[in-house]
Symmetry: C2
């Protein structure tokens, strides 16, 4: 099984115009696999969620999983029981046992849902062993890792899909549809971000995943075990893909456009320390920890076609959840935080917002129309259904995935560039061109039809 | 009459804590002028609006005005008639006749409401001739102009107040009150900006101030006559003070804090050209004009105490009006665009916005409480009443104005620094310290009481 970009492009040639949405039949190649075999490396809460979705399908097997956390593995096995599926083989003999899984198991692809620092090494090893990869966000932590992913995918012709689920959020897909229909005119500016009070994720009691204590690292449980250390060691936009990924699709990044440079600026760091003191008092050992991560990090990206993107990273402070979406073009704009839209010539009153809901309904994406009932109940408001489906269908149909290794690299590289910018007084940092010039002629690949 | 900062500070010493609001009596010096005399240079629509407010007061005379536009002068004289006030002497003999006004007239202060490029030269000349200055925004267009204003004010001991009316917007003042009461905790991040579809301001038919044609420059009328050329010649945040001024007060800029550096990034320029073509066709001569100004300019400022400020300049595109305000601290945040607030421990539901209205009422600023009925009917929702009052009362009471030459410089310098940043690929630009170190010990001066 190999990725045939040419075949994919040929079959979907009619989708060359941005607005086209194809009926599902056009994509059928007649060479679909009946059943595919998927391994899962990393069975924390996120991995368990995705496994649950995979196990809904009769045409996919999970013969092997890998983790080193006994409790998480137990919880995962319970998922197999619930789904009445055969228990997978377990690889849990240390941090490198995933290599044995890759070596010994006959798999079509692997899903990687481990702590961030493992994403790239595991994805590299998986491709090298002949498996397609679906990797959680961010796919890579350094510029070198991004390049390594790209090179390995090109060398092995195995794909590396970034599992950026927010690309499939219903409102985001409807707005993508509007962008492709030209409703906003020519795009000028987008906003996104990750504004999510993670204090009860970054700290817990070592038993429960959320809150109840101020422990992290070895004494923490679930994400607190590893994610919090990034806030100690790094100052930058640590989690740029939920905001940057969806707007990258709207802006045709890597397909007619690309991210050119960014600047990042961070506020002082207060929230995590204050939380520890408020919860556990000034004498708790963690009250002495210095967190490098500024509470709010603002990143401004310039695109080759001229557009700008503002991303906000805001995870240490009390605030309502938002991904900060705003999409603006020469004819109008959409803003999520006030659930409003304004389109010149369509909106009833000049200079006045109108509710976005009728537009979101009218431009509902064909994928959502088709799979609404199946997506209901899947994680994160249904988004997870689509990201898992896209990964599995790409393997089954032997086609390029809708989010590929270039997406993985260009979305994820925002973090290291952001860190470098902040370390250099907000100096502009250039994005590598991971496509090596192909962005000029590449055509859009994301969500062009109602298949995946 | 000279500015006595010491006197002002001594009288308001109890206001040293940020939260204090003084009753008006404390400020009475016993040396108030009964009547003051104000000249007005620039009698376009903005000047006429401010003149109308000055003429409401029996204790202020306007013995002289200056402009070179006959039609505007006529409209201005009608204002005097309407108010049943004696007609002023008119200086209209060419662009430099303002120097004669300054030379010949016995005035306590002048209001400068001319096209931007005249603000600094006129303010400099006015201070040099012994008059206090109230100057419209922006006060200066280059870094040198900013320094020149500062030096002249220091040398002459005449004040140069920037007439940044949005500092007095009712919701903004209530939020300032909340900031000073510590409701948001320690501030982390603010947003502001100028998101205003000015296409019908930048172009008109030469007869009416708004729309009806695509003329500007010599063929335009009112602001189109001069403002539009800035969009041809400059790429940067051309109008930063409506957003930056109010948040500067919240952040104690020049008084315990300062702007340290900024980056700016601009989108492509589309809106103005497209507007000309849509209104007048591709063959209109103005369809050939190249506009340098990017449609949306995003500026990120870093403050000495660590906070960040994002300013948006967005004047060429169809969109609802917004000043983009957002104020966020370690305890919560306010966002204007969704009229919402969230304060940890106060808001009824964790992670959920609540309407801002009860908070805006509860924290209504004493100035607004006291002058609500008088402000009603004044320009821009009442803000103009307060900015004019502040200017006049500062002269009458012989005290420092609430927005001084350091405010004028540090708010206005955002424009040239923004232009330089964009011209250099979003490189960070350092703010000059116009206070020469005094920001470390200066105390807040804006809106500490219910007087002005």
């Amino acid at each position: 099984m190999r990725v045939s970009r040419r075949k994919f492009l040929k079959e979907t040639a009619v989708a060359g115009t941005a607005a086209a949405i194809l009926p599902s039949t056009i994509l059928a190649t007649g060479r679909m696999s009946d059943r595919i075999r998927i391994g899962v490396i990393g069975t924390g809460l996120r991995g368990q969620g995705l496994i649950g979705l995979v196990l809904r399908r009769d045409d996919v097997e999970i013969p092997a999983i890998c983790d080193i956390d006994e409790r998480m593995l137990e919880m995962t096995l319970a998922r197999f029981d619930e789904a009445d599926r055969r228990s997978p083989k377990i690889y849990s003999a240390g941090e490198k046992d995933y290599l044995n899984l890759l070596d010994k198991e006959n798999l079509d692809g692997v899903i990687i849902t481990t702590p961030w620092r493992w994403h790239t090494p595991m994805a590299i090893a998986a491709m090298e062993s002949g498996k397609h990869v679906g990797v959680e966000v961010p796919a890579c932590l350094t510029v070198d890792e991004c390049w390594n992913l790209v090179r390995m995918s090109e060398k092995t012709e195995k794909f590396c899909m970034i599992l950026e689920n927010v690309c499939y959020r219903r409102d985001v897909m409807a707005v993508l549809n509007m962008v492709r229909e030209g409703l906003f005119g020519e795009l000028l500016h987008c906003q996104g971000g990750y504004q999510h009070d993670l204090r009860r994720v970054k700290f817990n009691d070592g038993e429960n995943p959320y809150g109840g204590g101020v422990e992290y690292g070895e004494k923490g449980f679930s994400e607190a075990r590893w994610r919090t250390q990034h806030s100690v060691d790094r100052n930058g936009d640590l989690y740029p893909t939920h905001g940057g990924g969806p707007v990258a699709q709207m802006l045709d990044i890597n397909r007619g456009n690309r991210f050119v440079h960014l600047t990042s600026t961070a506020t002082q760091s207060r929230g995590l320390h204050q939380y520890i003191v408020a919860q556990a008092g000034p004498d708790h050992p963690n009250a002495k920890v210095k967190f490098k991560l500024g509470d709010i990090v603002t990143t401004v990206i310039k695109c080759a076609k001229g557009e700008t993107v503002v991303l906000s990273h805001d995870t240490n402070s009390p605030r309502p959840y938002s991904l900060n979406f705003c999409v603006q073009g020469t004819r109008g704009l959409w803003m999520k935080d006030n659930n409003s839209i304004y389109i010149e010539g369509l909106s009833p009153e000049d200079h006045k917002w109108e509710p976005d809901e009728p537009y979101l309904k009218k431009y509902d994406h064909p994928l959502w129309k088709r799979f609404e009932s199946k997506a209901a109940g899947a994680g994160h408001g249904g988004m997870d259904f689509f990201i898992v489906r896209a990964f599995l269908e790409s393997i089954k149909r032997d086609v390029s995935p809708p989010l590929d290794v270039y997406d993985a690299a260009s979305m994820s590289v925002i973090s290291p560039l952001s860190e470098q910018s902040i370390a250099n007084g907000s100096a502009p940092m250039k994005f590598p061109d991971f496509t090596r010039g192909k962005w000029k002629t590449n055509k859009p690949i994301f969500a062009l039809n109602d298949v995946y």
